[in-house]
């Protein structure tokens, strides 16, 4: 009789003990919001408090750790590995004790920044001012260097992202209120479009200028 009471008591104490120390069988999901910058696989997040890890697929906006947490379990989210095109990832709300507020309201968030690489366009044969190159919204006016090659540095391009350089205006004088634009040279571009790789642009953009055609 006594022993069966003791046994029950021990079982109860055991159960209480387990729930108190959060053996990973709680009911709070640990979700991380992906605020941006994850364009390819390779990001593995880790909850260093319990060793749980999760792989983030490309383009995911949120990811949940496999293990659930109990109230008051500590969590501390960081990364184990980064995608190859990511410069760094920053976290917010990533270290706390689990409760309704810390897992549902102030959701842990990670934001990654993509590596940037320079894009340089070589301009050959340019003698006159007025040449303007654009890569979408990035606009660069080219200053001639007496006919010598000019290296035009465009805004940096994110790794794995595309670029497409075109000629916005040809060398010459721009139009005014009274006179139309006077084009003095004709430039063409080759290799203007491509993708930025880890080792640089996938093409070699070259602008070649000659007499007006």
């Amino acid at each position: 009789m006594k022993s069966s009471i003791l046994y029950a008591g021990a079982a109860l104490a055991c159960a209480l003990g387990l729930s108190a120390c959060g053996g990973g069988d709680g009911d709070l999901p640990l979700t991380v919001s992906i605020a941006g910058g994850v364009t390819k696989t390779g990001l593995t997040l880790v909850n260093s408090s319990n060793g749980d890890t999760v792989d983030v697929p490309a383009g995911a906006t949120s990811i949940q750790f496999p293990k659930y947490l109990s109230t008051d379990d500590e969590f501390n989210i960081g990364y184990k590995t980064l995608p190859s095109n990511v410069e760094k990832c920053t976290f917010s709300n990533n270290k706390a004790r689990a409760n309704y507020y810390t897992v549902y309201t102030s959701v842990p968030t990670v934001f990654c920044t993509i590596k940037l690489h320079p894009l340089t366009v070589t301009v050959k044969g340019l003698s006159d001012a007025g040449l303007v190159l654009v890569n979408g919204s990035d606009r660069q006016t080219v200053t001639p260097n007496g006919g010598a090659d000019v290296s035009v540095k465009m805004a940096d391009i994110p790794e794995d992202g595309p670029y497409g350089v075109t000629i916005l205006s040809q060398p010459g004088t721009p139009a005014t209120a009274t006179t139309p634009a006077q084009q003095t040279q004709t430039c063409t571009i080759t290799g203007g479009s491509g993708n930025m790789t880890a080792t640089g642009p996938g093409t070699t953009p070259v602008v070649t200028c000659g007499p007006k055609s």
Partner: protein
């Protein structure tokens, strides 16, 4: 007997106190202070209570424009600061050229003078209203012709800004419409072919420019032309 005298005296005293702190004086009004972010072009006129306030361009790019309506409002007066002829949340009406300004939402652009304390100072209570302006964006679109196979697709990009893949159409020779992300007024664009379709060679025209007044009048650059021919 004594108590009867004390009570009316207290009532009188308290009502005097109320009057003195209640801003009952005719000179005390609540200035209507407006803060507008990102005003890049002239033309914004805000109104409330029959007053108009022309909001100038920020002296330095990125600065907020902060100014007051000509007259303050009496305690309890309802106000609603909106663009003249427009709405608070949708904008419209007298907006800056090439821009649209809308309320930040909170603090509310409407309310009752004296209802909420000023963020700035309890001593100089003001009605504070916040607006933010964004530069208008316009369509960047066009057509692909000659891409007559559903297995062929072409990827077009506007520099590093936006990208779209257009799939061919085997059942119709109508030009295939496409649109890249809209482009803000004053911003350049240059559409290029990132990847040619398998079995076709495509060229592109009308593909570079700046979203200027002429294009704004047409609601955007709508005639980017991609022409594809089947490789022989």
């Amino acid at each position: 007997m004594k108590f009867h005298l004390v009570r009316p005296a207290l009532v009188l005293a308290s009502s005097l106190v109320l009057a003195s702190c209640g801003g009952g004086g005719s000179s005390e009004t609540y200035p209507v202070k407006v803060t507008v972010a990102n005003v890049q072009y002239p033309g914004l006129v805000l109104t409330t209570n029959g007053q108009e306030l022309a909001v100038p361009v920020a002296a330095k790019a990125g600065d907020n424009v902060v100014l007051n309506f000509p007259n303050g409002l009496d305690y309890g007066t309802y106000y609603n600061v909106i663009p003249k002829g427009g709405t608070a949340t949708g904008g419209g009406g007298s907006q800056p050229a090439h821009q649209n300004c809308v309320t930040n939402g909170y603090p509310r652009e409407y309310g009752t003078a004296g209802q909420t304390a000023s963020l700035e100072s309890a001593r100089k209570p003001a009605i504070e209203v916040f607006y933010s302006c964004s530069v208008n964006v316009y369509e960047l679109s066009g057509t692909v012709t000659g891409l007559s196979s559903a297995d062929a697709s072409i990827t077009l990009i506007n520099g590093s800004n936006s990208q779209i893949t257009v799939v061919g159409n085997a059942t119709s020779t109508d030009p295939i419409k496409f649109a890249l992300s809209p482009v803000a007024y004053g911003t350049s664009f240059g559409v290029t072919i990132l990847t040619q379709p398998t079995g076709y060679t495509c060229t592109i025209a009308n593909n570079t420019g700046v979203m200027d007044d002429a294009l704004e009048a047409k609601k955007g650059k709508l005639d980017v032309a991609v022409n594809c021919t089947k490789n022989s």
